[in-house]
């Protein structure tokens, strides 16, 4: 089961005592502000979690994987996520539990 906005709001309700409407609203706004900053060309740095960076990609040749036909991949701006040290270390610790 994947984590969703509803579960995040539920935790704010349970742990912080926000009412359900406030909790739902702040979860919504949290993601909206991050998206808004990126939309404005701004990098987002969330220490302990990671950075959302922007990269402008030039046009490059591509192919339709189904038909094999050559079609250019147009120039575009993309978001990349670079996990922070702390998050990486926590995820690696999970990998070790899986190997036993």
């Amino acid at each position: 089961m994947a984590l969703t906005k509803a579960e995040m709001a539920e935790r704010l309700f349970e742990e912080l005592g926000l009412n359900k409407r406030e909790a739902k609203e702040i979860v919504e706004q949290f993601f909206e502000e991050i998206r808004g900053a990126l939309e404005n060309g701004q990098q987002v740095k969330l220490s302990g979690f990671g950075n959302f960076d922007l990269r402008d990609k030039k046009q490059r040749p591509g192919r339709n994987p189904k038909t094999g036909q050559e079609i250019p991949i147009t120039a575009r701006r993309v978001v990349t996520f670079r996990p922070g040290q702390k998050l990486k270390a926590r995820v690696e610790a999970y990998a070790r539990t899986q190997q036993q």
Binding site: I26, R35, V79
Partner: protein, 101 residues
């Protein structure tokens, strides 16, 4: 934008909440997300994107200083895939907004 700037913006928009509550809410949300990934669970936020873990098989690496080879264990790394709305909105701003890093 940093975490504290994000908290400031949200606090301004959520006038009925004390600054401390907004700060705690942001920290709780990020901790919840990190916990999920640390337990091998996915995160799916519609219109924003999804976070999952990607497997990296064990490999032989090198110590860049000495050149000695070292055996590196298999691991997982967090991966983010932007959602459609995120991809579209970010891409549309390419012509008008320079990247500020």
């Amino acid at each position: 934008m940093t975490k504290s700037e994000l908290i400031d913006i949200l606090a301004q928009k959520q006038k009925q909440l004390a600054y401390k509550d907004v700060e705690l809410a942001v920290k709780t949300m990020l901790e919840h997300m990190a916990q999920c990934l640390a337990n091998g669970e996915r995160i799916e936020i519609r219109g924003f994107g999804s976070f999952s873990l990607h497997y990296r098989p064990p490999r032989v690496g090198r110590n860049p200083k000495t050149g000695d080879s070292v055996e590196l264990e298999a691991k997982y790394v967090p991966h983010f895939k932007p959602g459609k709305e995120m991809r579209d909105r970010v891409n549309e701003s390419m012509e008008t907004k320079p990247i500020i890093n």
